[in-house]
Amino acid sequence: MNPAAGQGGAAVRIESCGKTFADGTRALEPATLDIARGETLVLLGPSGCGKTTMLRIIAGLELPDTGGRVLFDGRDMTAVPIERRNVGMVFQSYALFPNMSVADNIGYGLKIRGMASEERAARVAELVRLTNIPGLENRRIDQLSGGQRQRVALARAVAIRPGILLLDEPLTALDAALRDRLRGELNRLLRALGITTIYVTHDQSEAMELGDRIVVMQKGAIAQIGNPREIYFTPKNRFVAEFIGAANIIEAPLENGDLVLPGGRQPTGGVANLPEAVVMIRPETIAIVEPGRAPLSGTVDSISFIGDRQRVIVSGASGKSLTVDAPNNIQARAGDRIGLLIAPDAIRLLPRED
């Protein structure tokens, strides 16, 4: 086993955990969730959706409303304060201690646990290597860059071999390029540690890359739980479809399984009849072909060349304009008439919400 691993970590269960704040705001509807040993679970949603509240309840920084329970490996931890839960936590602001050096920050949890100073120094050195911050051990925190702080915060949280690693938007404070790079590093590190990890983010690409499973949250409730593919390809509702990736949401009548659109009749592979259906079509599942070679057609409104692909906005095909991600070698100009070929199984029927 990897010497830095935390024995695979603990399994977590939260049972009808809701949170109502003193002023009466409902931050979290009662939710039940199981997180397997060694799994990386991402809580994803816009700000104010309750994801951080859920993380803080698991951490022991917030108490759930009466009736809610938090269990680690089947043991009820609800009343146990954070300092006795053996969780490692990385805060959005990192919460590094300005009065201690980098090495003292990383070793603080070990010192609290009464580890002898030689053993502690060895463990700190191991983490410095693991998180790739050699030579910074004696620096003060205010002498570090954002990316270095992030690594120190991670090293400090992992040093204590926690049963569960909790990360609250750990990359949000960094600029975009650094964020992408650290995301990859973080992913490799989490895989190597094999520890149960709960990761809060509002960034869907972070969630996709890091999560074994993603919990999409909306207005204090769980909207959908699934692995990244399930969340992306079969969103349960319009909110999930629109929050994860780009999505065309089309409202149109369904006749014998065909969507009746201004630009033609698009088969969906079924035989259903619905006066007002709501469907989702991902931009990259729509192919641009010669007009007449597809059941659906429209007019090119605009094209933005992005590099690896180009984003084409098409009008006249559906009620609203349609977004298409086309390969970067297709030659088309605004005003061109084009055919739109969509595989029936790329069309996802969503429940109506009013």
């Binding site: 003193a22 300092e83 490692g88 300005p98 009065n99 949280a157």
Partner: protein
């Protein structure tokens, strides 16, 4: 040429203002080490009066330091945890408590002293001991300690640091010692200097609360002005100067160092 004249004019004005403030202090100091002030420096210099002050008033000087130190200890032990609790807890109740702690700043010292006298005159032993004066000084200086510590808490995100230490397994007490106090140190130091200086110089409250046996330095000073030779009173002032000036300088240097950070 014109600029130079303006500069010289300003310089002279500044020096005059400074002299207006400094000359009385210098005269007072010189009076304290002159054999006979009415005959002037010509009568000779002496430390006789300073020693006489020590003979007569050594007790008040010692008591002032005892009370200032005790005030510091009490405001540290009560004020720093109070500031921490008020900051972390937040909410309306904390605001109200904070306002109540700050109230003595707005109430005249005489009124506070009167309230203490009315409340505790029945406890003769307490009334007669220096602890009675200590109580007044703590009430008077506490807001300075709490405020300056809370000001630091507002600039470093102390709540998240506290949560960070808790996540690493530290008990509330360990967190307080390892993380809260070290990061509040600038505020604690500034508050401490303020508390000691205020306590050493406090007159209003102390004058009401003191007994003939519990006189502090400023009370003794007033006493010597009223009943002693001018030279003795001046020597006494000199001693007070020597004690309080280093504290004030330390406070200024400290404030400068904080701004430079």
């Amino acid at each position: 040429m014109r600029d130079r004249l303006i500069f010289i004019g300003q310089l002279i004005f500044t020096l005059l203002v400074a002299a207006f403030l400094v000359v009385p202090a210098l005269l007072s100091i010189s009076a304290g080490i002159t054999v006979n002030y009415f005959r002037g420096i010509a009568s000779g210099l002496t430390l006789h009066w300073v020693f006489q002050v020590f003979d007569l008033y050594a007790g008040t000087i010692v008591l002032s330091f005892v009370i200032a130190s005790a005030t510091l200890v009490v405001t540290l032990l009560a004020g720093v945890p109070a500031a921490y609790a008020l900051h972390v807890r937040g909410g309306r109740l904390s605001r109200i408590v904070e306002e109540i702690i700050t109230l003595p700043l707005a109430i005249p010292g005489l009124a506070i002293a009167l309230a203490l006298l009315l409340t505790y005159q029945g406890f003769a032993g307490f009334r007669r001991s220096w602890l009675f004066i200590l109580t007044g000084h703590v009430v008077f200086t506490m807001p300075f300690m709490v405020r300056s510590v809370m000001a630091v808490f507002a600039t470093v995100d102390i709540r998240t640091l506290d949560e960070g230490a808790a996540s690493l397994g530290a008990s509330p007490w360990r967190r307080f010692l390892d993380v809260i106090v070290p990061n509040a140190r600038p505020g604690i130091l500034a508050g401490s200097l303020m508390v000691v200086t205020l306590s050493l110089g406090e007159f209003n409250l102390t004058w009401m609360l003191h007994t003939p046996l519990t006189k502090t330095l400023p009370i003794g000073l007033a006493d010597s002005y009223a009943s002693m030779r001018l030279e003795v009173a001046s020597a006494y002032t000199l001693i007070f100067f020597v004690m309080i000036i280093p504290l004030l300088v330390a406070m200024q240097m400290f404030a400068g160092a904080e701004r430079a950070r």
